[in-house]
Structures are given as C-alpha cells and as structure tokens.
C-alpha cells in the first residue's frame, strides 16, 4: 500500500486526488490512456475505456506501462480483474493492421490468423473485403477504408491504420506570430494531433481552438478544408486565419449558402454540406473538388450524420476535430474515434483558467418564485407544455431587468430558447434581438456594434450558441434552454470565457423557476460544468431585487 494520489475503483473509474503532491505527475501519467470524466474541485474522475486504452496503444504505450502506472500511483491495491482487463483489451489492438501494399493496394494484415478468420466471417465485414492473399492477409476495397475501421471497432478488434495519408496539394501556410504568441497548450495540442496523424482536440470554449487549427495547417502546409457550424462562424475563422497566418484574402474561400468559393483554404458550413437537392447531397462533392491535405471539423460534437458517412470515404486525408465537449447526445463517440480519429489532446477547464488563458467565471442560479396563479396553471398544464410554461414566466422578466440594470455598462448577453420570450425581453429592455430569422448581414452589424461597445446588451436565441466571437461580453443571463442539455450550458458559458482585457471575471446567470421542471432541467444542465469544477451559487430573486448581490 503506497500513499499515492490515485484510487482505482472496481468499476474502472480512477479517482485522482488533486490536492496530493504527486497529482500533476500522476495526471500526466494516466492522461494517455484514461478519459477525463469529471474534474470538480477536489477529486477528478477518469475512466478506463476500451477506446481510451486503444488510444494509448495507438500512441505507442503498451499494457505493461499502463499497469505499472496504475500500480505505482495507486493508494490501494488495484483490483486484479482490472489489470487483466487492461491487458486483455490492449492486446486486441494492433492484431489487425491496415497497410498499403504496392501490389494489392489496401490490405488487412494480421499477426493472429484466428482473429482474421473471425472478422472476415462477420456479416458486416464481408462486403468490404477483396481477395484473400494468404493466411494472414486479405485485400480491402480502398473505398471502404473508413467503413472497415468502423465495423472492426464495433466487433472489438480495432485495426491500426498504417496505410498512411496523402500529402494533398502543397500550399505554403505559416503562423504569423508578430503581435501574439501561440500558447503552450495550443502548441502541444497541434503537435499531438500532427504526430497522431488524425484525431480530436478537446479544449474549453474560448481557449483558442481556431489557433490550434491554424497551427495544424502550418504543420500540414497543404490545402485545407474547414467545416464549421454556420456562416458567422465561417467569417470568424476567415478573419482569424488572416490575422494569425500568412494566408491572404485570395487564398481563403467561403463555401456557404451565400457564396460558393473554392480556394486552397476553403471554409464550408455543415448546413450547406448537408443540403439536399433532388434527394442527393449535391455539395458533398466539395470533398473531392480539391486534393485536400487536411480537413478540419469545428465543433465535432455537432457533426451531422451525412458528413460522418462521407468522412468514412476520405480516410486517406488527415482529419482534425475540434470541440469543447466530446459529449454527443446521440452516443456516436465511437464513430468520432474510428472516422475522425482518437482524442489527441484534452485538458481540464480549470487548469487553463488557472493559467489565465480563459477568464474565471462565476455561475449563479437565480431562483424565482412563481405567483400563486402561475403555480396553479403550471400544475394543470399539459406535460409537454410544462417546461415552456415555467421557463417563460413573467417573473423572470423582472429579474432579467434587475440584473441588466445592476450590470449597466458591462457587455451583457441575454440568452434564451423561446422566441416570444426573447422578443418580449428585447422590447422591455429596449435592446436588439438576434434570432434564427435575422439576416446574416444584420447579425454582423449588431455583433460589430456590440464589439465596439456601441450597444452593451443583446438578446440572442440559440443561433448564438456556437462559434460567435464576442470578446468583451462579461455577463450572460440565461432565461431558458433546450431542456436539460448539458452541452448547451457549456457552450453558453463559453461565450463569456475569453480573457478580459482588464482581467475581470465573468458572470453567468441562469434564471430558473423554483419548484418546477425548470429547476430539474437546470440541475441536469449544470452537471457538465459542475463536473468541470464550476461551482454554482444559488440566490433568490428577491436578493436581486433588493440589490443584495
């Protein structure tokens, strides 16, 4: 029994005591193979998963190292079953390899012919295979490289992909670090990605994922396709790239609803890519229109299914996924692993905060009481309308008003789900509203005004959830959301996490109706952030009115 910082649980979770002197060392040691699940203030939870262990194998770690690390840092005896499981799981990786053969093209090679026999008999695998070459080798249809990786992963025999990448058409790109400097973690992330070939980088909102993308492009020095969530985000990528890299305006194209430019660096939106014309995805050809050397997926947790399918077909190109939360509500993490690539970099939010790269934020839940009449109507409302009812109560309006008044002079965002509510708030507060139907042009004008400080308060719908760059927003007030979505909460907090010029902290208010389903959803929504170490403070609406906070 040592006095280590790590406790290995029988359900394969690892608890890391971060107040322990060895915790940093231990975190570094386990990060390659364990997935960070929660990082609240005292004990961080990691989990051993097959994906994580295979990730580690892909990065060149073997079972021996993993087991040694567990034993070395463990406070108590490590359950034997876990050691066996680690060895067993890791030994499954690498028995199958995808290789490029000069004669046969893409081949699946094994070191264990029994495994090959097992997988080629699987119904899902058979149609992807070509001719049997010898006992340990079989040809694979080159177009099925992604598909076979995906299917093998589901069978529990992940294939190591040695078939390599095409370089793509070379294009000179370099970082232009004149008045700024790349942060150490960004550099680590870009390097981690580059050495791994393909993969996903997980960084908190506001931690500068765009720069990781730019740094990756500087590594690749090749034509690049960037897929982003919407047009506004596309424009921001463009501006950021112009500022941070040697690229000039003519080299960057936008492929969106409005423009269809194809340039050495092209930024396309998910929306246009998945638009159907006569039942076919006509824009997916973009993937083939250039000999891309790198494909970047922004907000990879939102990647729509058709793009997944297409991504399976471009396995020979390098792929970089960027996201703040790898939590997919549809449970397609396995697809991200096999098609985009394993997680290459990940760091707890609070660690970046402590380094000063994201602003410290205070999360406050404001509880409002429903009036007696509201309570009665709430109790009798249809189940499906209940959330809408309690999320949009009249009392919330007063609280928002009071909060906006209290923070007068600061840049404030009021975020909500229901358009009626937002319209009403915009009217009461006398500020503009941005919603789905607001034209891009108008949106940009408003954002620019907000940025310049001409307007200090904006009411936004969920269109602003992602990828809008509002450098000086310090206050966010959330009035309603997409039910219990944890990821939405994280994204919204991300809006105010960019470091402020004066080092000020940000405030995130969430206005919630007491004793209703709104409160239950709020609890669920807060879970992800609470697990990242953001502690919510709960206050009463009355405290707001009386100016107690």
């Amino acid at each position: 029994m040592t006095d280590g910082p790590l406790i290995v649980q029988s359900d394969k979770t690892l608890l890391l005591d971060i107040d322990h002197p060895l915790s940093t060392e231990c975190r570094r040691a386990i990060a390659p193979f364990a997935e960070l699940e929660r990082s609240p203030e005292h004990i961080h939870t990691y989990r051993l998963t097959p994906l994580g262990l295979w990730n580690a194998r892909a990065a060149g770690h073997d079972a021996e190292q993993v087991i040694d690390t567990l034993i070395k840092y463990s406070r108590y005896a490590v359950p034997h079953s876990i050691l066996i499981d680690v060895a067993e799981t890791m030994s499954r990786y690498g028995r199958l390899r995808l290789e490029a053969d000069p004669v046969h093209g893409l081949i699946l090679v094994t070191t264990d012919s029994a495994v090959l026999e097992e997988v080629i008999r699987a119904r899902k695998i058979q149609p992807l295979l070509g001719a049997r070459i010898d006992k340990e080798t079989i040809a694979v249809l080159p177009s099925q490289r992604g598909q076979i990786k995906q299917s093998l992963l589901r069978l529990g025999w992940p294939a190591e992909d040695f078939a390599g990448y095409v370089d793509g058409q070379a294009h000179e790109i370099a970082l232009k670090q004149e008045d700024w400097k790349i942060r150490p973690y960004q550099e680590l992330a870009a390097e981690g990605f580059w050495h791994g070939g393909s993969g996903v980088v997980v960084l908190p909102c506001g931690a500068g994922k765009t720069i990781v993308g730019a740094a990756a492009m500087a590594h690749a020095k090749a034509t690049t396709l960037i897929l982003v969530t919407n047009t506004v985000a596309a424009r921001q990528w463009r501006e950021e790239l112009l500022k941070r890299t040697t690229l000039n305006e003519d080299e960057i194209g936008e492929y969106s609803g409005a423009k269809k430019e194809i340039r050495p660096v092209t930024i396309a939106t998910y929306q246009v890519m998945t638009k159907k014309k006569n039942g076919v995805y006509s824009h997916l050809d973009l993937f083939d229109s250039y000999d891309w050397g790198l494909i970047i997926y922004d907000e990879v947790h939102l990647l729509p299914a058709p793009i997944f399918r297409f991504t399976a077909d471009i396995q020979s190109r390098r792929r970089l996924g960027l996201t703040a939360t790898l939590v997919r509500e549809d449970g397609m993490e396995g697809e991200v692993f096999s098609l985009i690539g394993p997680k290459r970099f990940d760091v707890p939010w609070k660690e970046i905060e402590s380094q000063g790269y994201i602003a410290p934020a205070e999360c406050i839940e404001v509880r409002v009481n429903l009036t007696e009449t509201e309570r009665l109507s709430y109790a009798t409302a249809e189940v499906e309308n209940r959330y809408r009812f309690c999320a949009t109560t009249r009392t919330k309006r007063d609280v928002v008003e009071a909060l906006v008044k209290k923070h007068q002079g600061e840049q404030i965002l009021v975020i909500g789900q229901y358009i009626d509510q937002l319209d009403e708030l915009s009217e009461v507060l006398g500020v503009p509203v941005i919603k789905g139907e607001t034209p891009v042009k108008e949106r940009e004008i408003l954002f620019n005004k907000f940025r310049s400080g001409e307007i200090t308060t904006l009411v936004v719908s969920k269109v602003a959830n992602f990828s809008i760059d509002l450098p000086d927003a310090t206050i966010a007030i959330q009035v309603s959301g997409a039910f219990g979505s944890r990821q939405e909460e994280a994204q919204r907090l991300g809006r105010i996490l960019r470091p402020k010029s004066d080092g000020r902290g940000a405030k995130f208010y969430s206005v919630v109706s007491r004793d209703t389903i709104d409160q239950d959803f709020a609890q669920n929504r807060q879970r992800f952030l609470a697990e990242q170490g953001y502690s919510y403070k709960i206050i009463d609406a009355d405290d707001v009115f009386q100016g107690k906070i």
């Binding site: 290995v8 649980q9 609240p40 359950p79």
Partner: protein
C-alpha cells in the same frame, strides 16, 4: 492364531494403525462400532470401500488396480513386477487405510473390493482357467495380432459374428486359448495374455508423481495486497446485499430460492455479475445472516446485526468457514446452456462439493505464489482424485472454487494468500484487521453533488451516507451522488433536513457546496406534506359533537381512537369489531366500504423466524484425536466382552443342540472368513413366515445384501438374504 480374514488382521494391529485408519476413513467410527467384528464388516462394506477409494491418488489407485488383477494371496514382489518399484510405499498406504491387508500367506483384498472397482480392473479380463503357453502369442499370425491389438488396453471383450464360425485370426487365438468364448458372440482376452502383451505391466504409463502445477508466478507481497483488497470487497458486498434486503426484501420463489429477476436487480445494485451475486447471496445464507420469514420474504436475520459489530477478521472468518464446508455449489446458478438453478434454492447441493473444494484449496496451498493455469490445475486435480463417485462436476467445481477463493480473498491474483493459508490451517486471523486499509472518517463533498470517501469509511458514517446518497462507484474509495431521491430517502428514514446538513458538514473535509444545501432544503421543505399511515378502520361523522362524544366515551377506550381531522377518527381494530363495540356502547354505526387502504410495512425489516441455514451434506468429518482414542478403547472393550459372550453362547448352543445364533455383525464376519477358507457352514435361516430352519451350506460370496451359497440339501446355488440368517456356525 491363524490370520486370514480382515477381522483377524484388525485384531492384530496396534492402536497407531487404528488411528491412521480412522483418520483416513472417519466413517468407520461414526458411530463407534461395538467390536472389531462389526468394525471389519463396516470397513468391508461397499459404500465405505468406495469412500476410501475416493481418497486415493492416481498412483495409489493404479497400484490397487494391479493388486486386483492378481490372484489372492499376492506379494509385494508380484505387484512391483507388474507396476513399478515405487509401488511399495503406495501399497503401504493401501494397507494403512484397509484396502489391502496382509494375512498369513500373503496380501489379500477385502471381499467386496472387487465389486467396487469392477470386475475388469484396468481393463483386464479374468484369469485363464486353461494352461496357456504365453510365449506363443508372439507367433500369432498378422490377423490375430490385429485382433489382439484391439483388446490389449481394454475393454477385454470383443464381439465376433458367430463363435462357431470365426475369422482366421480369432480362430487361431481361440485354438491357442488366447481368447476365451463368453457366449455365442463374445470373446474375452484372459488377464495373463493382456499383461504379457502390455509388456508385463498393467498400465501403459505409471503416474507415480503428481504433475507439476504450472501457472503465472506471483510476488508474495502483491498477492497479499490483492487478497486483502478482495477481503474488504467481499465484506462490503455482503453488507450491501443485506442492507438492500433490509430495505426491500426479495420474495422467494414458490419452489424456493431467488428469482432470476431479483438476482439481476441485486447484481445491478452490487455492480458485479450474476454468478458473483449468487455467490454473495449464498454466503449470507450459509452464515445465517438471512432468513426466510413466514411470507417467504428474504430478509436479514438478527445475526446480521451481531455480525456487523464484529471485527472484519471475525466477519470474514464466519463467511469463509461456512463456505469451506458447504455442500452447496453457487456456481450452478445461471450456468450457460444448463437448466436454470435458483440461488438460495433447494437444488444447489452437490455431494462432492466440499471435498473438491478442500482438495482444490490444498493444491493451492501446496503451491504458494503460483496462479495456476486452468489446464495444468485440472491435470493435478485428476491425479489427486482420479476416480470419484459423482465425478461429473469435479472440474467445474474446482474452477468455481478457484473463482470463489479469489472473491473471498483466500487467493489474491490467483495465488494463495497468507490470509488463505492462515485460515486453512486454523490460525488466528486478526492480522486481517491490521492489514485492511485504515478506515477514514471523512468525505469530500464536491460541487457536482458528489461526495467521495477516499478510503473505507467508518461503519457508522457509511451507513448514514448510504441512506442519503446513491453509490456511484465502488472500490478502495466510494463515490456517492446526492439527488432529490436520495435526500428524500434519508428524510423517509426519519432524518430532518438540518440533521442531514449538519451530518454532512461535520463529516466533510471540504465546505458544503451551496447547491447541495439548497437541494436538501428544497426536498425537506416538500417532504411530508402528504401524510400516510396505517389504520384498520375509520369512523366518519359530519356531526363533530358526536365525534367529540365518542372520543370522550370511557367505554370506547378499548378502541384507542385517534382523531385525525374534526370529522374523522381512526382506530386499529377492524371495522367489524369497531362496529360491535360501538353498538354495545349504544351508538348506531353503519359500515362503509373500506377499500383502497395502502398497507406499508416498516422500512427496515428483520425476520421473526429463526434462521435455518442449509445443512451440510457430504463427507463425514474427521473427529479429533481424543474422540478417536476413546473410540479405540470402546472397541477394544467391546471386543473382550463379545468374545466372552460368544464363547458362552456357543457352549450353551452345543449343550442344547440348538440352531446357531450369532449377532448380525458376527454373522458377516464369520461368513467373510469362511468364504476365504472355503468351509461349509451351518446356518439358521428364517423363511417368509418366520419359521427358522437349519441349513448346511458352502458360502461362495456376499453380494447386494445376500449370501450366495450352495445348499447341501438341494445341491443348488441359491441366495440367502443376510438379515434372515439367524446364526452361523462352522461345521
């Protein structure tokens, strides 16, 4: 004194030999036999012999088979000739446990032994009656050789189309008497020929030494660490299981035992697979920690409360020692492609379970620091116990034992731990208390509504926490999660919101996060707005004055009325009684339909019935040395008095010329002896009506409770049922 029968032999041996015999065959002194004759009879009975043979290892059994292949009397030399020189010590062991015994003219086997090991030991046929020239076998023509090859290693019988018209090979062999016809279609290879063809030996290979046990080498320290972790885990499992049942007792199946669905629920709760869950439930059952109440609900027994107060070492010892001796095999539960057998049900007993378990553990104990491979382990096991009654499950039972020993912490990383060794040798186990990780008395509450106990919690704290929070992850540490439902549960258990809060802030090393404080406050505010209680009957009246009147009526005190609202009174008597009493007091009540009353029981249940742990079926335990010594004394004394009585009786018989009279044991003893001596006997034999007649017979053998003998009066071989033989006397 001449010495030919087994009882003669027993009379000649010293106390030390008796001790050895009784240690090896405890069934011989349970109960203590009256004298040496009855001891000999018991030792030569088929069940006892079969038990003794069970205890042989493969080499000893091979030697016994070789002995059975020889004609009696035989010598050590003749056995060595057909086996190996190592046979001497094996033979000594066989003599020691009474499977072979020396007589005046050589070694002999107890009369029924051949029946027990079969007529064809080691696949050898009977001896040839005719004289044969064995060396001529080598001259056999090729067809004959082919036939011989098929019969050499047994079974020694072969079928031919027609004995009168055999093929050329068979014909030659029959002619040379190398094959003997049994009936129209069957021939048999005589023993001598087979042994000759086997190269003068009985067995193809002599398995003199136990095979080496191979497997992963472990480091002792690591083994002990892993084992202590297992020990703390199994204690936690049992405690959690019983706490679960205290909250929500499972219903036993009508056929007995735990349903598959309940087992699944438990398995989810404990976070282990179903076979492990079955094992844990059985452990609790064996140790009397649970009981089935009158409604067949499974609940913790009072013993559980006592158990909880004991030290970990004592708690563990209770579980492990019950497991060690049980005849129940929890591995049978939920086996793939087998009939579903319920945990805690009546179908788990297997007669050889405890024996295989003990053997498995002793093999582990002999090989410290080895985590055996399954294949190698089974080889050793087969060598140690080559012939077993009910051997079908032997391999599985052994594998289950290995698995369960690991769960229990007798082994760690598959190799025997120091705790296991100490447990098996009956040493003091308090070292477990010292080696278990130190308990911690605090938790860390975090703002995501989880609390972490960074080590095993003190019992009191863990009980409290288990009530207030759901366990999310188990192991060295425990992760608890608070939610509305768990706080409600704590309130249901009678805690108040403030108590919960102060308990948590007292126990937590970290400040209590505000959201949790709010959660507790919110739930306790809502808790208990609705009230539910038990009642039998209610009295309702719109006239509140009348209600007040009955509340104050002295004659109704017996009803123990309680007013829960101005117009409603309740009482614990049922409606019929209540009405009767009210009427007697002069009121005019009328009944009202009384459906819809929910009956809920107390939350933490204990069975009222006494626990009935399953009884152990199987082998007889070896009594301690004192009992054995006193058994020997008792037998010796009995022997002396029997001797005297027999003499007296015989003298009387002779004087009266009456039918011979002997006790049942003497009868068997004498019969066995005279079979060997091939003497004629005079017996008294009772017919169907109880009339006793005098018969003169030549005994041949004893089989299935009957004496096969030739009756001089009829000249026919007939069977005499032993219980009807009233007495035996030599002629």
């Amino acid at each position: 004194m001449e010495m030919r029968s087994f009882s003669d032999y027993l009379r000649s041996v010293d106390d030390e030999a008796f001790l050895k015999l009784f240690n090896a065959r405890p069934d011989l002194v349970a109960p203590v036999p009256a004298d040496i004759a009855s001891l000999a009879v018991r030792a030569c009975s088929a069940p006892s012999l079969a038990r003794a043979i069970d205890s042989l290892n493969q080499w000893q059994f091979q030697v016994l088979e070789a002995a059975a292949a020889l004609n009696e009397p035989f010598t050590l030399k003749s056995i060595v000739a057909i086996t190996d020189k190592a046979a001497a010590s094996a033979l000594e062991h066989l003599i020691g446990i009474g499977l072979v015994y020396p007589s005046d003219d050589g070694m002999r086997l107890p009369s029924q032994l051949r029946d027990v090991i079969g007529n064809e030991p080691a696949g050898l046929g009977p001896s040839s009656i005719a004289k044969i020239k064995i060396a001529d076998v080598d001259k056999a023509p090729p067809e004959a050789k082919k036939v011989l090859e098929r019969l050499i290693w047994g079974p020694p019988r072969g079928s031919v189309g027609d004995i009168k018209n055999p093929g050329p090979g068979v014909a030659w062999l029959l002619e040379q008497k190398f094959l003997v016809p049994l009936d129209q279609r069957t021939v048999i290879l005589p023993r001598e020929v087979a042994i000759y063809l086997r190269g003068g030996k009985v067995h193809k290979e002599s398995f003199i030494n136990q095979p080496e046990l191979s497997g992963a080498k472990r480091i002792e320290h690591q083994v002990d660490l892993a084992a202590i972790a297992n020990i703390s885990t199994v204690l936690r499992w049992v405690e959690e299981l019983l706490n679960f049942w205290a909250d929500e007792p499972s219903d036993a199946l009508r056929a007995g035992g735990l349903g598959v669905r309940d087992l699944k629920i438990l398995s989810n709760h404990l976070g282990v697979d179903e076979s492990c869950t079955a094992f844990i439930t059985e452990l609790a059952y064996l140790s009397s920690l649970i009981s089935f109440d009158a409604q067949d609900r499974i609940m913790p027994s009072h013993k559980f409360d006592i158990w909880l107060m004991q030290t970990p070492a004592d708690r563990w010892q209770l579980l492990a020692s019950q497991w060690l001796i049980t005849s129940r095999a929890s591995g049978l539960v939920g086996r793939a492609d087998a009939k579903n057998v319920a945990a805690l049900g009546p179908e788990l007993d297997r007669v050889n379970a405890a024996k295989v378990r003990a053997l498995t553990l002793s093999i582990l104990k002999e090989n410290p620091t080895v985590a055996p491979d399954a294949g190698s382990f089974n080889n050793v096991l087969t060598w140690r116990a080559p012939v077993r009654r009910n051997s079908s499950l032997q391999e599985e039972l052994a594998n289950w034992t290995l698995r369960e020993a690991e769960w229990l912490g007798i082994t760690g990383q598959g190799a025997i731990s120091k705790y296991g060794i100490e447990f098996l040798t009956g040493e003091d186990l308090s070292i477990i208390n010292q080696d278990l990780p130190k308990t911690v008395d605090h938790i860390l509450i975090q703002s995501d509504n989880t609390a972490i106990a960074p080590g095993p919690l003190e019992h009191e704290i863990s009980q409290q926490l288990a009530m207030m929070a759901e366990i999310e992850s188990r192991g060295g540490a425990t992760v608890y999660r608070f939610s509305e439902a768990t706080i409600r549960r704590a309130l249901d258990h009678g805690k108040t919101g403030d108590e919960i809060k102060s308990f948590l802030s007292k126990t937590s090393k970290t400040p209590m996060p505000q959201p949790l404080e709010y959660l507790i406050a919110d739930v306790s505010k809502k808790h208990g707005k609705l009230r539910v209680g038990n009642t039998s009957a209610f009295i309702r009246c719109e006239d509140t004055a009348l209600i007040s009147q009955i509340m104050n009526d002295k004659r109704l005190e017996i009803l123990a009325l309680r007013r829960i609202a101005p117009e409603v009174v309740i009482c614990d008597h049922d409606a019929t009684d209540t009405m009767r009493i009210l009427r007697e007091a002069g009121y005019l009540p009328a009944g009202e339909s009384a459906t819809g009353i929910m009956l809920t029981g107390a939350r933490s249940n204990r069975a009222l019935t006494k626990p009935r742990p399953p009884r152990v079926i199987g082998e007889i335990e070896i009594p301690n040395q004192d009992i054995l010594n006193s058994a020997i004394r008792a037998i010796r004394t009995g022997e002396k008095s029997t001797h005297k009585q027999t003499h007296l009786r015989q003298a009387a018989n002779e004087a009266l010329g009456a039918l011979p009279r002997t006790t049942a044991n003497e009868t068997m003893d004498l019969v066995n002896r005279y079979i060997l001596e091939e003497k004629s006997l005079s017996i008294g034999y009772a017919d169907n009506n109880g009339a006793v007649t005098h018969r003169i017979i030549d005994p041949i053998r004893v089989s299935a409770g009957a004496l096969i003998a030739r009756d001089h009066a009829t000249g026919e071989v007939q069977s005499f049922r032993i219980p009807r033989i009233t007495g035996v006397a030599p002629l």
